[in-house]
Amino acid sequence: MAVAVKMRPLSERQYAKETFRASQAALSYPEKVRQLVMLQERLRPIYAARGRIIVPWTLDRDEAGGTMSKQV
């Protein structure tokens, strides 16, 4: 006989995390590139401590704080 599986609803906290991730995924590509460069900057000292040199990407001035692009 099949046993009904009772699903626990997502907690508020888990739901908030999912929502945050979805909102991050929905950002424009240039915005994500800006986030990536920030991540690279934060990672630089961590990698350096492990002996690997990384150089964060260069963004144009208008790109660095620029407008959102439209995704076709």
Binding site: I54, L59, S69
Partner: protein, 168 residues
């Protein structure tokens, strides 16, 4: 990255390459949240696919324009501050992924990114642990077509590999 894309478009205009599309982590990032990467993977179609060293003309032209190998990211050419790894579309899956790639506007520069379903199929083919995680992220992304993805796996004989992956 805007200037980098302009240089890639110039390669197409000057017929050094037929076409290109963003793939790898930067391709996936179009559909999912920001992921860490240090290079920009560019898949390339060439006018002459019989060349044994297809990337030579690209490297040659870039050198002529003053773009040299990246000091730290090996196998990459540093183009306007972004390490770019050029990868020839060497098989049918990559070639189709490139032909089907979608155009988009990056801050006023027209460029192309591979479709999420193709990126996921390429991950299955590549088969590293990070590719497995990337497939899962892509599958959860908005608008991902599971049926198209499974269709690609069947067409390119990757279904068995994917099923094995699922069991690991």
């Amino acid at each position: 990255m805007k200037k980098t894309l302009e240089v890639l478009n110039r390669l197409v205009r000057e017929k050094v390459i037929d076409d290109y599309a963003i793939g790898g982590a930067m391709g996936a990032m179009f559909y999912v949240e920001t992921v860490t990467t240090m290079d920009l993977d560019i898949f390339v179609l060439f006018p002459d696919d019989s060349d044994l060293a297809p990337l030579s003309p690209v490297y040659g032209k870039l050198k002529e324009w003053g773009y040299l190998p990246d000091e730290y990211e090996k196998e990459c050419i540093n183009i306007e501050g972004t390490p770019v790894q050029f990868l020839p579309a060497y098989d049918a899956l990559l070639q189709e992924a490139l032909v089907q790639a979608r155009s988009f506007d990056y801050e006023g520069v027209e460029t192309k990114v591979m479709l999420a379903e193709y990126l996921a199929a390429i991950c299955v083919k590549t088969g590293r642990l990070k590719d497995k995680l990337r497939v899962q992220m892509l599958q959860l992304s908005r608008g991902f077509s599971e049926s198209q993805f499974l269709g690609l796996l069947s067409t390119f004989n990757l279904k068995e590999r994917f099923d094995k992956w699922q069991l690991q």
